[in-house]
Amino acid sequence: MTSQASHLTEAPEDAEPATRHTAEPEVARGRRRRPWKVVLPLVVLGVLAYLPYVAAELPGILPGRVNGPGSMQLLATCLVVAGIALSYDVLFGRTGLLSFGHALFVASGSYLLTISLSTWSLPLPAAVALALIASTVLSLVVGAVALRVGGIAFAMVTLAFAQAASIIVMRNPGGVTGGEEGKVLDRDAVPALLVGVANAPYRYWLALGFVVLAWVVVTLLIGSRAGRAMAAVRENESRAAVLGLGTYRVKLLAIVVASVLGALGGIVHALVLGGSNPHLTTSEFTLSLLVMVVLGGAGSRWGALLGGFLYAYADARLVEVSGAAWLEPLPEVVRQVLSQPLFILGVLFIVVVYFAPSGLTGLGGRLIRKAGSS
């Protein structure tokens, strides 16, 4: 399956684009490309970090002022989801592992935090540490079992594990997980800075911090020996094995790194949204992560982040489309269907799989290169 996954990830951003028209030496091109590759993320980060000071209104795009609590909360949610999508891309885009169980680790981070804060009355640092350590152990166990099979069977097995967790959470054993209601974050246990409507900007910065951390970890990972081994496994697992790479260890490492980042995302998610939602445990959540990564562009940091951000944004805002005036003349059934964000996202996803296999960022990059070469 890994060789097929590579079709989707045919243009990872760190691979030099196959520019046929240039004859200049590699070194010169590398030196020329490097500055803006460092500067661009910093500029984006600077703009995002400054947003809580922007009082302008963007009607139709954000609810109220940009630094109003509504917009800040929405943007913070989108950022957390983007970071979680980036963690999923370590599996799917970088290593070619089609996992349907990533929700398990996000949910374990989120639920272990809220449960250890309220039920076990741990202080916040201890709760975070516990959630991260337990999620790491969980990912080792689940990964070790699931990696005994490959390809599609791996996808099904991870799905089954995530489903088991979902069942446990929904059954609400001992009233610990809160069942379908979810688990509310114990507000007394977290710093006052992260609680309340007025402090939405701090939660936004927290979410941004998580995205930066995930970006740095993924960047360090893909530059390391292990990251190169993951790419080798993705491109051709048999060849990687023949070359003497321990593919099992490489894949397990990818699962553990992705899961720890995902669990951290779950923790930040719980802090930003004020609790754990059982939706995090469902297979639909993992599927939506897959949709995000493919929409944005698998195997690309920008792609995963953009996909996650846009997906979360669309999921929250597309509901308003159903009330839009230009939909009025359409028949009732069509409007009912279009009022479902997931319908639009699902169809968009199919279109992207067909016509833009490297995702939106890949499409954008292709258009830019085309414009530059003509």
Binding site: V145, L159, A160, F161, I167, S283, V291, Q336, V347
Partner: protein
Amino acid sequence: MSDLLLLLVTGLGLGALYFLAASGLSLIYGLMGVLNFAHGVFMTAGAYAGWLTMSDLPQSLPIGARLAVAVVVAVLVGAVIGLVVEVVLIRPLYHHHIQQVLVTVGLSLAGVAAAQGIWGADPRPVETPAWMSGTTVILGARLPNDRFVYIAVALMLLAGLLALLRYTRLGLVIRAGVENRTMVEALGIDVQRTFTIVFAIGGAAAGLAGVLYSQYAGAVSPGQGGSLLIYAFIVVVIGGMGSLTGTAVAAVVVGLVQQLANYYAASGVGDLSVVLLLALVLLLRPSSLKGASA
């Protein structure tokens, strides 16, 4: 004793439903290597088609007769959807298994959302014939009648599919295709057409599973197919990915384990023990999952 008998029959009934859901999945996976995530949508479509048929037919007809018509309609709807999906969405991505999975994932998201938009997220109750909700007393155990219906239908489907595989030319091509698809193509047989037919058969089985599952649940809801699909996946993996008899055995085992554990341990343990069973099978016999002959 009567408790045990009741548990065995209900467990078998559940296993029968799992087999109905998993048989199409297993057939499609075995021949085409496509993990069909849209199978849940096929089932949901069958359930809604059955529900609409039952409420649209004149209410003067007995419920049993309307249910029979509903089953036929659901099977046809499932087959047509399977056919269309294969021709329009799956075929262009031939040899790209991951993309095929992705497309069916998108379809499952969009399909559930569409059903939710049109009929609402809340479960809609379905009518059940009186004799199906009744019980029969055997050896002191009051056994629900509907489970016998599921078991009978599942057995008929299994027998029908096995006969199809064993005695027809189509079955021969399917069995050969599962064994070695490239060789079948090299012999000049149109495997593409077989793929379409297999998808239609899988869709029909899914439609059947959907309408019967809505009888079991007493209602139709958009997420229904998806929740059944997860167990169908587990059954397909335990059954050996693509083997029909393996799927049948796994369905029975999963249904029984789930029912017995739910009763003798605690409610909810059964669902977990199914996943545990899967982990055990993986640890003890990972080779059985590499795919098997039909």
